[in-house]
C-alpha cells in the first residue's frame, strides 16, 4: 500500500511538472531572469501547488496517515548555516541550467544527453553532499 501511494504521488508530481511547463528550462530561467523577458508562470505553479498542501497540513493536526504510523516530526524553525549555504549553492545551479531535482527526473525520457548528464552530475553532487556538509560545519565552527 505504501509503495502504491508513493507511485501515485510520484505520478501526480511528474504529470504536474510536465503540464505546468516546469520541465522547460526557458520557463524556469524566464522566472529567475528579471532582466530578461520575465515569465511569471512559476508563480502560478507554486501557488497552485501550495493550495492542496495547505489543506493537507490542516488535516495532519489530528488523526494519522492512511497507512498508519504518525505524521512527520518536523524540525524546529532554526536557521543554520547549512540551510543558507545549501540553498545558495542549489540556487546557483538552478539558475545556471534551469533544472531542479523534480524536473530533472520528470524530463529524463525526453531531455536527451544533456538531461542525462545533468541528472548524473546531480546524483554525484548528492553523494558528495554529506562530506561537503561536514566540511562546512567545521568551517562554520572555526569562524
Amino acid at each position: 500500500m505504501r509503495i502504491l501511494i508513493s507511485l501515485l504521488s510520484g505520478s501526480l508530481f511528474g504529470a504536474g511538472l510536465l503540464l505546468s511547463g516546469m520541465t522547460d528550462t526557458t520557463k524556469v530561467q524566464g522566472w529567475l531572469d528579471v532582466f530578461g523577458a520575465w515569465d511569471p508562470t512559476l508563480a502560478f505553479v507554486m501557488g497552485g501547488a501550495i493550495l492542496p498542501m495547505l489543506v493537507a497540513w490542516q488535516l495532519t493536526t489530528r488523526g494519522a496517515p492512511l497507512t498508519g504510523g504518525a505524521f512527520p516530526d518536523l524540525p524546529r524553525p532554526e536557521l543554520d548555516h547549512r540551510l543558507i549555504t545549501g540553498s545558495v549553492l542549489f540556487g546557483m545551479g538552478w539558475g545556471l541550467a534551469g533544472l531542479c531535482p523534480g524536473p530533472a527526473m520528470a524530463s529524463l525520457t525526453f531531455g536527451g544527453t544533456g538531461g542525462l548528464i545533468f541528472l548524473l552530475s546531480m546524483l554525484a553532487g548528492m553523494s558528495f553532499a554529506p562530506k561537503l556538509g561536514s566540511q562546512l560545519d567545521r568551517l562554520a565552527a572555526a569562524t
Binding site: 501511494i5 545556471l96 541550467a97 533544472l99 531542479c100 531535482p101 525526453f110 552530475s121 561537503l132
Partner: protein, 142 residues
C-alpha cells in the same frame, strides 16, 4: 490570462495533490531531493522501495502522457556542457546540504508557513537570479 499561466496553475495543483497524497497516505513530506538523495547516500535505504516507486512515477508518467497524447516536449537545456555539469553538481550538493529543494522547502515548507522553507526559498531564488545575471547578461555564456 495567457494559456501558459493556466497550465502552470493546473500543473501546480497536480504537484500539490501529489504532495498531499504522500503526506496523508504515508506521512511523508514530498521532497524530490530528499527522496532521491536518501537512495544515493544510503540514508533512506530502509524505505528504498517506496522511494524507488515515487521516482519511477515521476520519470515514467511524463513519458506515458507524451506517448498517449502524441506530443513532444523539450527541456531547451543549454548546450554548454560545462554549465550542465556544474549546475548538476551544485543542485545535487546544495539541495542535500540545505535538506530540501523547490518541492520540499518551496511547496511543502511554505504551505505550512515554515520559516526554514520560506528562508531557503528566498535564498535559492535570489542566488538563481544573480547567477543568471552574471552568466547570461555579464559573461554571456548561457
Amino acid at each position: 490570462m495567457p494559456m501558459d499561466w493556466i497550465w502552470g496553475l493546473i500543473g501546480g495543483l497536480l504537484i500539490g495533490t501529489g504532495g498531499a497524497v504522500l503526506l496523508l497516505g504515508n506521512g511523508r513530506v514530498m521532497g524530490a531531493s530528499g527522496i532521491l538523495g536518501g537512495l544515493v547516500d544510503r540514508s533512506g535505504w530502509g524505505t528504498a522501495a517506496e522511494r524507488a516507486a515515487f521516482v519511477i512515477g515521476v520519470i515514467a508518467t511524463p513519458l506515458l502522457m507524451l506517448q498517449i497524447l502524441g506530443l513532444e516536449a523539450d527541456t531547451h537545456l543549454t548546450s554548454n556542457w560545462f554549465a550542465v555539469i556544474a549546475a548538476g553538481l551544485l543542485v545535487g550538493a546544495g539541495t542535500r546540504i540545505a535538506n530540501g529543494c523547490t518541492s520540499g522547502h518551496g511547496v511543502c515548507g511554505i504551505s505550512r508557513f515554515s520559516l526554514r522553507g520560506i528562508v531557503a526559498t528566498v535564498f535559492y531564488i535570489l542566488a538563481g537570479g544573480l547567477t543568471l545575471v552574471l552568466f547570461r547578461h555579464i559573461l554571456g555564456v548561457i
